[in-house]
């Protein structure tokens, strides 16, 4: 039988591996010879866009990543921040877009499984999952199938492992018809003195494989995630991995048990590019070499080649480097949990990755170039042209206020997501203080009186119209959502979903969004501690809206101070915080009421106001002044008020007057605040010179605007709840 390495490396073979001729020449230079087939495979995954960030690295370096709260910034499995008392929050968001489009259930499920492993690899127990999802038009032929499958997959994995899914977001837009986005975020809690890192040190230390057996699933998944789709993409189904949440639950518990000892030197999840990427990263970060004997790798299929074992993306596997001699105690733990445990190699001082299989050396490569040697591209980027200001003449035929508001409440963006989130276990672990449906989710740090506030945000239509302002707005909205609960925003993770970076206008969107995100992160002291880039989100040459999803995490020091985003009783005084100019460009009103898709400038983001207003809201909550707080975003003030009414079926009478821009404009840095009458004076005093004005009072069962517009809260509720079930029933 001929060996796979006997395959001749032709131009066609190189192209199949997604390497350009120039990149292949660089591989040959690093190797000092022509790579064999296995080595080519390893280089191709390590240098894929997904693993090497070769188009994005230059720009990622410009993001703010520091702060006194940051324990670990980007570059590890997940970011780590200090949340006081020796506790740390560990979190990251990651995309699973391409697999989820091909096989929605398994694609989404393994996305959730993968991000949880990134978090518990670092010594944290996952305490909350969120997901940011984007689908095509609601009436597109594939949308319902994809949506049902993705939701079921997220629930199927998270519910089984027993980590609550506490929030997220869903948007619909035609640009996602052929390329949905599935971004999964996980937040975990660890002790600051028990954080585990990937770096492997100590020549002779054993390299240990634990978890599930290796199969042929997911081979070249990372390469697939680095290419555009076409009509034949569904033929790529075999490259989608299959998830087993039960095994992950066992792996989580076994890892936690072993981590309680001091046996582990380094640990790394086998995610994208599987055994290859985990071993390269561990050895490279530790500045050592690594020798792997593939005969020792637990396999679930027979006759697997070394190439397949190295590139498999089978799920629920971890690679660890243990202190020499500690293997027996580790093996006892893993076998008690019914998991595979195998010593498959050791660390060397060679600076090389050497792989043997069936008595032969099948790969021998320098580690440095594999890990960091991928070319860094400064791709041509064309700034997005400045969009014109909103054309006010479009409002000439605008419908009346009640029609507009009732339409928006039953629109794809505003409609209640209950159909989705009731399929997720949002309460397991007994620490969910505020689950889906609020501005930010609130999850108690187990056994303490403090809570984490978590939110995912981005408004892709803003990013498309003006990437810089859109990038800022995504960060600012996460900041606002966290402030609205009373928590202090601490840090963010991001998941940057864009089209083909080889097109200058797409690269221009990327560069613009990152510029805005960076500016906002610096101004709001909200650094980026982890993240992921997903490019080539295109099908047949049509790109998605630029979608840099932000996952924000904040800390509420005293959980009993938290407020919700619903009116809680009658006779509350309703205040509007923030300046309203009536920006309708790129608003939901423009898209869904005017049914207009011209590109107009989105609302500008004033970061100083964001910081000042956010700080004010937090202070007001800390002083116990507020009964409810809600950030104003999609649909503007009118939608925010309606949302606050429907929670507890409490009406409101709004006494100020305004035009369409006032009610539906999406000006930033604004909140609706509700306060009992006896605290109103204190709130006004605290506001000092901030733009804070009383706009109404809670009362009755109707939402009234002046004396002319009256809508029953029950009707708003029914419209808001009805849209999603009707869509899914078809």
């Amino acid at each position: 039988m001929s060996h796979i390495n006997d395959t001749e490396i032709t131009e066609a073979v190189v192209a199949e591996h997604g390497l350009t001729p120039d990149e292949y020449q660089m591989v040959c230079d690093h190797m000092g010879r022509t790579p064999n087939y296995t080595e080519l495979g390893v280089f191709s995954v390590m240098w894929s866009e997904h693993c090497s960030y070769k188009s994005s690295r230059k720009w990622l370096k410009k993001l703010p990543v520091d702060g006194p709260q940051v324990i670990q910034g980007p570059g590890e499995n997940a970011g780590v921040i200090d949340i006081g008392d020796g506790d740390a929050a560990v979190f990251k968001m990651e995309s699973h877009n391409h697999p989820s489009f091909i096989e929605p259930y398994q694609g989404a499920a393994t996305g959730v499984g993968g991000i949880m492993r990134d978090v518990f690899t670092m010594g944290a127990r996952p305490v909350a999952n969120l997901n940011a999802l984007r689908f095509g038009q609601p009436d597109h032929a594939k949308t319902r199938h994809l949506l049902a499958g993705v939701v079921s997959g997220i629930g199927g994995y998270g519910n089984c492992i027993g980590v609550p899914t506490v929030g997220g977001e869903i948007n619909f837009d035609k640009s996602y018809n052929g390329n949905i986005l599935v971004n999964a975020m996980c937040v975990g809690v660890a002790r600051t003195d028990k954080i585990f890192y990937a770096a492997a040190t100590g020549v002779g230390s054993p390299v240990v494989y634990v978890g599930s057996k290796t199969g042929r699933d997911g081979i070249h998944g990372a390469t697939m995630a680095s290419a555009e789709f076409d009509d034949a993409s569904e033929e790529k189904r075999p490259t989608v991995q299959v998830g087993d949440p039960f095994t992950e639950k066992l792996l989580l518990e076994a890892c936690q048990e072993l981590m309680a000892s001091d046996a582990i030197i380094g640990i790394q999840d086998m995610g994208a590019a599987g055994l290859t990427s985990s071993s390269v990263e561990m050895a490279d970060k530790g500045g050592v070499g690594i020798l792997l004997d593939l005969d020792k790798v637990p396999c679930r299929e027979t006759h697997m080649t070394g190439y397949e074992m190295l590139l498999s993306e089978s799920q629920e596997r971890m690679l660890m480097v243990l202190k020499p001699g500690r293997e027996p105690e580790a093996e006892t733990i893993f076998s008690r949990w019914g998991l595979d445990f195998a010593v498959i190699g050791e660390l060397t001082d060679s600076g090389r990755m050497v792989v043997t299989h069936q008595g032969q050396t099948i790969a021998d490569m320098p580690l440095g170039p594999l890990a960091d040697g991928a070319p860094e591209y400064d791709r041509p980027h064309e700034p997005t042209p400045k969009a014109a200001a909103f054309d006010q003449s479009l409002l000439n035929d605008a419908p009346d206020m009640a029609t507009a508001l009732t339409t928006l409440m039953a629109s794809s963006e505003i409609a209640s997501r209950r159909w989705v989130y009731e399929q997720y276990d949002s309460m397991v672990m007994g620490d969910t203080l505020a689950g889906p449906g609020g501005d930010a989710a609130l999850v108690r740090v187990h056994g303490t009186q403090k809570a984490l506030a978590i939110s995912t945000d981005v408004t892709p239509r803003y990013c498309f119209a003006d990437p810089v302002e859109g990038g800022k707005q995504a960060v600012a909205e996460a900041y606002r959502n966290i402030c609205a609960t009373g928590a202090t925003p601490l840090a963010i993770t991001n998941c940057l979903n864009f089209g083909n970076p080889e097109r200058p206008e797409i690269m221009g969107q990327f560069v613009g969004c990152l510029e805005g995100m960076g500016e906002a992160g610096r101004a709001l002291d909200f650094p980026v501690v982890s993240g992921n880039v997903s490019l080539y989100n295109e099908t047949n040459g049509t790109g998605i809206l630029p979608t840099p999803a932000i996952g924000g995490v904040g800390l509420l020091k005293q959980l009993d101070k938290a407020v919700g985003n619903r009116f809680t009783e009658n006779d509350l005084q309703i205040y509007l915080l923030g300046e309203t100019k009536g920006h309708l460009g790129a608003s939901l009103y423009q898209r869904d009421i005017l049914a207009n898709d011209d590109v107009f400038a989105p609302p500008p983001v004033d970061l100083q106001s964001e910081a000042a207003h956010g700080t004010f809201v937090r202070q007001a909550i800390d002083k116990g002044l507020l009964s409810a707080a809600h950030d104003i975003s999609d649909g503007g003030l009118a939608v925010a008020l309606a949302e606050m009414c429907i929670g507890h079926n409490i009406g409101a009478h709004i006494s100020v007057e305004g035009d369409i821009g006032f009610w539906f404009g999406e000006d930033q840095a604004r909140y609706v605040l509700a306060v009992t009458a006896d605290k109103a004076a204190d709130l006004e005093a605290l506001a000092d010179n901030l733009p804070l004005g009383k706009i109404g009072v809670t009362t009755g069962a109707e939402l009234k605007f002046g004396d002319t517009v009256t809508i029953s809260v029950a009707q708003l509720h029914e419209l808001n709840e009805g849209w999603f079930p009707a869509l899914m029933q078809g």
Binding site: N159, C160, L250, G338, E422, V428, M429, G430, T432
Partner: protein, 222 residues
């Protein structure tokens, strides 16, 4: 008193229920491993929610055949109080301590939300602190909670006052026969229920309606 929580591989509400038992009893329960063939004599045994053995076979059926369950059944027959919550309820029906079966939800989807329950029987070992007919709010989170039994069994459950909880009018989340949310054996010492009282046992989590299950059994056994 001695309380034990059985931990199967895939159990995921074991810690949550242990927190509630400790709050009620002032002492942490014993966490008993599925593979053990001995269980210290226990006054209270709790089978927690989760996905035992992944529930890759019929829910609860693998767990019902685990070594520890022989002990659980033996102690139940000698008078220990047993509470099965969600997956634990499924295990109790699979091992024969309670009749019937939990089928897939009528809506075919997992459902996690608060439900309004009626305390149909407040004479069980766990429900004495509720008023008869009291309406309480307790969340469910399951894919297979659709209680089913043949007509004779359902009649017997009614005649022997073995229906512990029903979903209140219009709030049946899964299509269960007779709106059954929880049942007990004729002695009232063995209770199985789909809703999760441990998730509603403190005001920070939205309410305390579930707390009296735990304070009630501790009071009954002390």
């Amino acid at each position: 008193m001695q309380a034990s929580v059985i931990v199967f591989p895939g159990s995921n509400c074991d810690r949550d229920v242990a927190v509630c038992i400790e709050a009620a009893m002032g002492k942490a329960p014993l966490m008993a491993w599925h593979g053990d063939s001995e269980l210290p004599k226990s006054d209270l045994i709790v089978l927690p929610g989760g996905f035992s053995y992944g529930d890759y076979l019929r829910c609860g059926s693998m767990a019902a055949n685990s070594p520890i369950m022989r002990e659980v059944v033996a102690q139940a027959k000698k008078g220990a109080a047993v509470l099965g919550i969600c997956n634990g309820f499924q295990v109790l029906t699979e091992c024969g301590l309670l009749p019937g079966v939990l089928m897939q939800n009528k809506g075919l989807n997992f459902v996690c939300r608060n439900t309004r329950l009626t305390v149909t029987n407040n004479k069980t070992a766990f429900t004495a602190q509720y008023e008869a007919g009291e309406e309480i709010t307790v969340p469910v989170a399951h894919n297979e909670g659709n209680y089913f039994a043949d007509d004779d069994t359902l009649k017997r459950l009614q005649d022997e006052d073995c229906i512990a909880f029903t979903y209140a009018d219009g709030d049946n989340p899964n299509g269960a026969c007779l709106d059954i949310a929880g049942i007990c054996d004729p002695s009232g010492r063995i209770v199985g229920m789909m809703p999760h009282p441990e998730r509603r046992a403190e005001t920070a989590l939205g309410g305390e309606d579930g707390k009296r299950m735990f304070s009630g059994i501790v009071e009954a056994l002390s």
